[in-house]
């Protein structure tokens, strides 16, 4: 499905390149994309919020408590409500869970896990999708048919189902005694495998247009190999739309990870992501301890909303028909 015409890369210079060519930073400041960013308050707010979430995750260790150090946990402090209610206690700003873990600290660490899985998942699926899309579009023939048929079969299933299946199968092969980092890799792997199709289809469509252009013929004439042409010459010209897809898919990957963790197929209680925290909190929702589930949920929703808004804007900004 050649959905859209090839788009210019994100930081395409608008004017005729001056001599000497300006650096990437100057070019970025001069680009249409930056101008449209400066004109959109929603995009700026979303970018600021996303940045804030990332900073919070990076500096998670500065939270009031290390939720993974058992020595710091006091069962006496368990299930404390947030600080503004009558039974709230210092320093537990957002209250504590059943093990006396500070919710705020747990959220900061969970945010780190969620963002990590989301980023790696997007990176993996984008790489896979771009490579397969380049191969399918550039080589054509049987390779193209094979890759696109696999894509068709996979599109038959929603990503969450594929991720659940891969997760279940891998875990049953590896058994129950797998380490946290192995679980994290399985999550990244299953999320990556569920989302590559969109990239592959978009890249393939653009490559089919690009490969008949003169510069590709020229590169072929001077004797460059196919991989070199694909990666160094065609790839930069088809990568534009991928940024928008990747941003939206980043939000989807975070949702998928959270869903898997919530369903019990994702991160374990010992290294909780936001989804795991919500699953833990869900057990206490009916006994009135709403803060254990609601605060991680609010952070998750805020994060996804910010990334989605950013992706929406990016999609429009990179679409030449909407300019």
């Amino acid at each position: 499905m050649a959905s859209s015409p090839p788009l210019p890369p994100a930081s395409a210079p608008t004017a005729v390149p001056a001599v000497p060519a300006p650096g990437w930073f100057v070019r970025a400041l001069d680009s249409d994309t930056w101008a449209s960013f400066r004109r959109s308050p929603i995009a700026m707010a979303a970018a600021a919020a996303t940045l804030l979430f990332f900073l919070a995750a990076v500096f998670a260790g500065l939270g009031p408590q290390d939720p993974f150090d058992p020595a710091q946990l006091e069962l006496m402090n368990s299930r404390l409500p947030p600080i503004w209610s009558a039974e709230g206690q210092q320093p537990f700003l957002l209250g504590t869970d059943d093990q006396g873990r500070d919710i705020l600290s747990a959220i900061l660490h969970g945010l780190r896990v969620s963002l990590l899985v989301g980023l790696l998942g997007v990176l993996f699926s984008a790489t896979l999708g771009i490579v397969l899309g380049l191969l399918a579009g550039y080589l054509g023939g049987y390779v193209d048919a094979l890759i696109m048929r696999i894509a068709d079969v996979q599109l038959t299933f929603p990503a969450i189902l594929i991720a659940l299946l891969i997760d279940g199968v891998v875990k049953s092969i590896m058994g129950n005694r797998i380490s946290t980092s192995a679980i994290l890799s399985v999550l990244v792997f299953s999320i990556g495998l569920s989302f590559w199709v969109q990239y592959a289809r978009t890249v393939r469509g653009s490559v089919m247009v690009e490969k008949n252009k003169d510069y590709v013929q020229a590169a072929r004439l001077i004797g460059l190999s196919s991989p070199a042409i694909m990666l160094r010459h065609v790839q930069p010209n088809v990568i534009g739309p991928v940024y928008a897809i990747a941003t939206i898919n980043f939000a989807l990957a975070i949702i998928t990870e959270a869903t898997l963790s919530f369903l019990g197929s994702g991160m374990p209680d010992t290294q909780p992501s936001l989804g795991t925290l919500i699953r833990i909190g869900n057990r206490y929702l009916f006994s009135g301890e709403w803060w254990i589930a609601i605060f991680p949920g609010a952070v998750l929703a805020g994060l996804v909303l910010a990334v989605n808004l950013l992706g929406d804007w990016l999609r429009d900004a990179l679409n030449p028909r909407l300019r």
């Binding site: 299933f157 189902l161 949920g297």
Partner: protein
Amino acid sequence: MIAFLLRRILQTVGVLLAVGIIAFSMFRFVGDPVNQIVSIDTPYAERVAIRASLGLDDPVPIQILRYLGRVASGDFGISYQFRQPVSALLAERLPATLELAFCATVFALGFGIVLGVVSALRRGTTLAATLETVSLVGISLPTFLIGILLIFLFSETLHWLPSFGRGETVRIGGWTTGFLTESGLRALVLPSITLGLFQMTLVMRLVRAEMLEVLRTDYIRFARARGLHTRAIHFGHALKNTLIPVITIAGLQLGSVIAFSIITETVFQWPGMGFLFLQAVQNVDIPIMAAYLLLVAVIFVTINLAVDILYTVVDPRLQLSSPRAG
């Protein structure tokens, strides 16, 4: 036209075969099927005999054919955890899932179309802006979180609606329905909203975008020039033309509604196929996982095929153009 249909049907069969082979490999190569049957102290000779009697020593292609043959006749094997035929387990839970999916789709289409039309016609007003924001929030909230929030608000805090299960059901033949009792209907409300909210925002955004596009076209301008009522233009001319893509998307989404019911059913402890599948994943109950995979594939592929065929019937342009257009 006939060639196009034949090709689509062939493609469909191909997809189903591929999924069948994936299901078979899950069956055969994830863990050892013999270990699921015998106990720890079964002697080796007996294991070998069971292996042979199950046909696990035959060449893989023959095993695949045999598996596909069994599946085609509705035999998905025995569930490891329930020790019951998988087909019976699935059949027992199918009504719950289908009723939930049906209500969710009705909710999504009803509210989605109305809200989409409103936000297109009232563009630029506070109402439209509010609806836009709500739709964005709806897309950003993961399904399970919506479910938890609804339970927290309507069951835990307000005590209006039940938070789990189907309520009382009535059995009609092989079908259990929750439509006929008050508690059954009440139990349907929250899960349907949870499951349908994402589709609703999707329909709403689609209707809005299509309406805005259609309202700009010449025939609408012409209809205005003819002096027709605004209402007649909006609903008789504009909405009618936006509905074709909406119905397509809704049809295509029906499959993912059924698949996404895994999450909703788990949150609400809804006794449907999705909940069964999740239990199977957690207990590595491969026969149920494989059967569910096949079932979802059949549903998806049939819907896709039906939509394609309907399209060629509804849209005369597709019949004239080359088959590649599909």
